[in-house]
Symmetry: D3
Subunit: 247 residues, 6 copies
Amino acid sequence: MRLLLINPNTMPEMTALVVRAIQPHLPPETMLVPVTGRFGAQYIASRSAAAIAAHAALDAFAEHGADCDGVYLACFGDPGLLALKELARVPVIGMAEASSRLAARQAERFSIVTGGERWGPMLREFLGSLGLAGRLAAVETVAPTGADIARDPDGSVTLLAEACNRTVARDGAGAVILGGAGLAGLAARVQPHVSVPVICSAEAGVTMLLETLREPPAKPQSGDFALPAPVGSTGLSDSLSRLLANP
Amino acid sequence: MRLLLINPNTMPEMTALVVRAIQPHLPPETMLVPVTGRFGAQYIASRSAAAIAAHAALDAFAEHGADCDGVYLACFGDPGLLALKELARVPVIGMAEASSRLAARQAERFSIVTGGERWGPMLREFLGSLGLAGRLAAVETVAPTGADIARDPDGSVTLLAEACNRTVARDGAGAVILGGAGLAGLAARVQPHVSVPVICSAEAGVTMLLETLREPPAKPQSGDFALPAPVGSTGLSDSLSRLLANP
Amino acid sequence: MRLLLINPNTMPEMTALVVRAIQPHLPPETMLVPVTGRFGAQYIASRSAAAIAAHAALDAFAEHGADCDGVYLACFGDPGLLALKELARVPVIGMAEASSRLAARQAERFSIVTGGERWGPMLREFLGSLGLAGRLAAVETVAPTGADIARDPDGSVTLLAEACNRTVARDGAGAVILGGAGLAGLAARVQPHVSVPVICSAEAGVTMLLETLREPPAKPQSGDFALPAPVGSTGLSDSLSRLLANP
Amino acid sequence: MRLLLINPNTMPEMTALVVRAIQPHLPPETMLVPVTGRFGAQYIASRSAAAIAAHAALDAFAEHGADCDGVYLACFGDPGLLALKELARVPVIGMAEASSRLAARQAERFSIVTGGERWGPMLREFLGSLGLAGRLAAVETVAPTGADIARDPDGSVTLLAEACNRTVARDGAGAVILGGAGLAGLAARVQPHVSVPVICSAEAGVTMLLETLREPPAKPQSGDFALPAPVGSTGLSDSLSRLLANP
Amino acid sequence: MRLLLINPNTMPEMTALVVRAIQPHLPPETMLVPVTGRFGAQYIASRSAAAIAAHAALDAFAEHGADCDGVYLACFGDPGLLALKELARVPVIGMAEASSRLAARQAERFSIVTGGERWGPMLREFLGSLGLAGRLAAVETVAPTGADIARDPDGSVTLLAEACNRTVARDGAGAVILGGAGLAGLAARVQPHVSVPVICSAEAGVTMLLETLREPPAKPQSGDFALPAPVGSTGLSDSLSRLLANP
Amino acid sequence: MRLLLINPNTMPEMTALVVRAIQPHLPPETMLVPVTGRFGAQYIASRSAAAIAAHAALDAFAEHGADCDGVYLACFGDPGLLALKELARVPVIGMAEASSRLAARQAERFSIVTGGERWGPMLREFLGSLGLAGRLAAVETVAPTGADIARDPDGSVTLLAEACNRTVARDGAGAVILGGAGLAGLAARVQPHVSVPVICSAEAGVTMLLETLREPPAKPQSGDFALPAPVGSTGLSDSLSRLLANP
C-alpha cells in the first residue's frame, strides 16, 4: 500500500516531523511517500498562506499521486482538502478533518489547542465547511505558530496541558485536539495531565486514512465529490495541467 | 480481541443476520460474542420499543461485557448508545452512529433508507443528539419494518436502489445509508445502480469499531462520558445492579 | 379525573415529595395515583440510570395507566417522555418538558438550576429533542444530586438563590427553573431573592397537565405520536407485553 | 376574574367572532372585556397594518387594562405582543403565540393554515422572535384574508381540511394550526378529516391564558419583560401617555 | 434628490443631532427632509416605545414621503423598518440595518455598543428578523439611554472606547457598532483607541442609502416587500389612511 | 481612483466581458486595471479550479495591486476572497459576496441562478463562510458553465427568466442573483419577466466596491482581517514573495 503524505507548506523539517510521528502507526507493508510543497509559505498561519498551500497540495498530488492508494494532507487546517477529495480517485484525509471528526465522536463539544492566533476564525470557517461548527467549544492558541512549538517540544507539555485544562474548565470541552504538525506526537505526554481525551491531529489523520483504506468507498459518480469536468489550463505544472484536462 | 455484539431486540435471527454480514470484516484473531436482548420487542420500530431496548442493551452489557475490548451496538437507531458509552470502559460504537459519521465524511448531506416509517422523526432526533441533524437530507422508508425486508433480501435490491436514486434526485443526497440489521450486506448489491456512495450500516459499524480499537482512547475522567457516580438500585439483574453500584 | 404520577426512579420518598408539592395545585375532584419505578436506580444522575428509568416509566404506565386521564412523568429530565407520548392515548407531560416550555414563554433565554453535574449535557440533549436547545442559557449544578438536596431543603434556599442570581448575571437568563423532584416546592421561597421568574419544575408539570386535560387533543392518527404498530415481545411484564401487542 | 380581550384591528364584527368562539371555554365567574382597536386597518394582512395594530393594542390596554387580571391579544400574528408583555403587570397571551407553543408540544414540526399570503414571511419572523422558527413546517395560505373566510365558514371546512392534509403529506407536519380570528371555532369541524391534531388558535389562546392565570408568575424585576423605565411622550392618548410615564 | 429622514421618536433635538452627523456625507444636490415623530415616546428604550414609534414612522412617511427618492429611518433599532420597506415604492434603510450589514461585511462577528440596557434582547430579536443573529458577538450597554449620552458626547469617548475594547477582548468581536442617534459622529473619535473597525450607525445608514439610490432596485411585484393589498382603516391620519387604501 | 479588477481564471475574454458590463457604472475619474489570472483553469467550475484560482488572485494582487485604492474580485464564487481581504490594505469586494449581501437586504431568502452544476455545494459552502447560508433558497444551475452562456447571451434571456421564475415559485425566493461573469449585464433584460428583484452579480460587485471606497474603513489592527505576520516563502513570484515577507 502506497500513501502520499502531502505537507503543503515548504518546510521539509515539518514534513519529517509528521513522518516521525505517524510512522509507528503504519502497517509494515505501507510505503509512505512524503512530499513537501514546491511553493508557498514556510508555515501556514494566515488565510493567504493557506490559499497558496491549497494550490501547492494539488500540485503535489498531480506530480506524485498517480499510483497512491490514499492521500494524507498533513497540515492542520487542511488547505485544499475538498479540492483534493474532488480530484483524487482514492481516499483523501486531512489532519484537522480527521481529528475533528474523532473529537466529535468522543464528546458533545471539543476544543482545539494550536499555535498561531489567526487560526481561530480560520478553523471556525473550516469546521463550518465540514458541518461541525456547532461542535467546537473553543480554539485556544498557545503560541504564535506551530513552528515555534516544534523547536521546543519538551518545554511545551506543561504549557499545552494548561491550555487544555483551561478550555475544559471554562468552555466545557469534553475532548481536546492538539492541532498541527508542530504538535505531532505530544498528545500522549499531555494526556496524563488532562481529564478528557487529548487527541493528536497527526495520529488521528493517519488512523482515519488507514481505516478508510480497509474498504475504500467507490468514487462517487455524481454529487459533491465526483470528478470535475475536464478543463484546459495555463501556467500550471505539466502534471497538474494534464490532471485537470483529464481527471 | 473480544468484541461484544449487542442486538437489543429479542430476535436471535436478526442477531445472526448481522453476525453473518460483519464476520468477513473481522480480523482472524477476533472473538465475536453476539448477544440478543433478554427482554423487549421483537423488532424496534417505535419509540416505546427503542426505550425498552436501551435498558436491554445495558442489561446485556452488564452480563456479558466484563472482558470485552469493545462493544458493537447492532441495531440501527442505536438504543442506549450514549448510556453504554458512559458505562463502558471500552469503546462502544452503534450502527447508526458509525454509518452517519461515515456518510457525513463522504458528502455534504446524506440520506437514510430504512424500513419502518416511525424511524423518520426518531432518526432526526438521534442525529440531533450526535450533532449531525444538519447533515441529513431525508429519511426514506421503504417498508413497514426491517424485519419484513430481512425475509426477502433478493427482491429488495431493486426497491432499495429506487429509493436511493429517488432521494439523490429529489433531496440532493451525496451519499445514502442502508440502515438496519435487516438490510445488512445489501449495500454492495445496491451500489452498482446508484451514482453516490451506498453505505451498509452494519459494515460501517464494525469498521469504525475496529478502527477505534487500534488505539483506543483513554476513558474520560470527566465530562460527558466519564463513568457515572455509583448508585444503588432495585429490581435489576444482579450484574447490572453491581455495575451501577460500582461502575 | 384520575392522574397517574410516575416517578421512574425507585425511591418512594421522592415520589412522596412530589406528591406533597403538587397536591395543593390539584382540583378537589382529582384522584392522584402515584407510582414509583418497579426497577432501576435510586435516583437519576447518569445516562445509564435514565435509560433504565425510561423502561420503568413504560412499565409503570402499562400496569397502572389503564383508566387514567393523564400521565405526569415526575422526574426532571423526563426519561421515557416521548415513548410514553407515543404509547398513551391520554396526555403525558414531564417536569422538564413543562417547566422548559413555561420558561421559554417567559423569557428569551432561561437557565436550569439542578443537582448532579452530569445533567448539563443530558439536559442540553433533552432540550434539543424538544426543539428548545437555543433557548437554554446555562445549566447550573449546585450539588451532586437532587437526592442530597432533598435531605436539607431549608439550608438550600440561599444556595439556590445564589445559583439563580449567578446565571442571571453571567448568562443573561430571563427566567430560572429549579429542576428536579428534590427541589419541588422551593421556588416560592427562592423567588423573593431573585429578580426574574423562578419556576418550580414540579408545579409547572402539574399545571401544564391540568391545562391540557381541560380540552384534551385528539390522539394523532398519523405522525410522530400516533400509536405504534403492534409488536410481539419477550421478558416484559404481562401488562407491558399486552400493551405493545395491542396498543 | 376580569380578562381584557384586545382585537387590535378595527372590525367589531371580528371581535364578536372571537368572543363567540371562546365564551364556551371561559369559567362562569369570568368577566370578558372585549375591545376593538380605536385606530388602524380593518384587518391585518400586511406588515404596515400589523405595525399600526401594535400601537392600537397598547392604546387599548392603557385605556381598559387597569383592573384586568390577564390580557388576550386576539389577532393571529400577535401585533404588539412583546411590548404588551413588557408593559402589563398581568399575563398577556396572543393567539399565534399560544397555538404555536401548543403545536410545538404536540409534534416535532407543525404547519399553519391561514388566510392572506403576506402572512408567510410575517409568521416566520414572528416565530423566530419566539425561538420557534425551527418547528414550523410550512405556512399554507388558503384565501386572500381571514376576513373573507369569516363570511363563509361553512363552505370553508372542506377547503381547510384539504389545506391541512396537503401540508401533512408534503411537509410532514405533525400538527396544524388554523390561524386567525376568521377561522375561530372551525378546528373541531375540520379535525375529523385530518389525521393529526388540528388546533384552533382562538381556543389555544384562551386556554393558555386561563392556565397561566391559575398561578400567575411574578412580574420580572429585571430582564426582557420587566417594566420599562418611565418616559415622557407626546401626542398619545392620555391613558397611554400616563402609563408610559408611570409604568 | 430628496431624502426623507424619519426620526420616529418625538425629540427634535435628536433629529437635529443626526442631521448634523450625516450632512457632511450627503452629495451637494441632496435635499434632506428631516421629520420628527408626531406622537410617541421622547426616546426609544423599551419595546412599548418602539412599537408606537413604528406607527409614528409610517405616519411620518405617509405625510412627507410622497416625492422622496429614499427614506432614512434614523433611530437605532429601526422601529417599523420592514413595514416601511413594504409600503414605500422607494428604498428604505435603517441605521441598525445598515450598520449591522456593514459590520457583517467587515468581520466574522461584531458587537454593538449602545445606551439603554433593554436594547440587548430587542437588538437580538431585530437581528434575527434580518437573518444576522448568528453574527452578533454581544450587545454592550454603557448608559441608561442614548439620550443621556447625547448630552455629554465629549466625556463619552473614553467610556465608549473601553466598552469597545472590552467586547473585542472578551467576545472576540471583529468590528464594533456605535449604535444610536445619541452616538452619531463619535466613531471617528473612538476609532484611534480601538484595534478593529468602529462603525457609526448614523453614517452607515446614510452611506447605504446613497449607495442603494445610485441604481435603485425595482419595487418587487411579489414576495415579502411587494406593496400590500389595499385596506380600509379608521382613526388614522388622512395621509396614512389614503396610503393604506391606495398603496 | 485606481481599481484593480482581478479575473482569477485565465480567459481574457471573460475579463473583457466583465469590464464591458461594469464600465458604465464607474465614475469618470476611475482608472480600471483589469488583470487576468497568470495561471490556472480557463474557467472555474470545480473546487480544484477554484483552489488554484485563489492563488492566482493573490499572485495578481501582489503584482498589480501596489497603488490601487480597491480590489474587485471578478469571478462568481470569489476564490481567494478572504485571503485577499487579509492581505490587502484597501477594500476588496467579490461578485458573489456583493450580490449575496445585496440580495439578503432585499428579501428574506434569495436564490442564485448560475452555470455549472458543481457550484451548488460550492456556493452553499461559500455563503456559510459569510454567515449567509440560512438566507439561500436554492442554487439553480441552467447550463454546464458560465462560459457556455457567455457565447450566446441573447438566447439565454428566456432560459434565465424561466429559471428565476421556477425558483421563485418552488423555493419562495424573494430575489434572484444572476451569478457569474458569463451572465454579466443580463439582469436588466431578465428583470421584466420576473416579479422579484433580479440582481446582476457583476454590477452588484462594482456598486458595493464604490460605496465602500467613499469612506473606506480603517484596516483592522487585530482580528480576522488584520495583516498577517510576515512569513518567508519559496517558489512564488517575486512580488507575492515580497508581499508575504512584508505585508
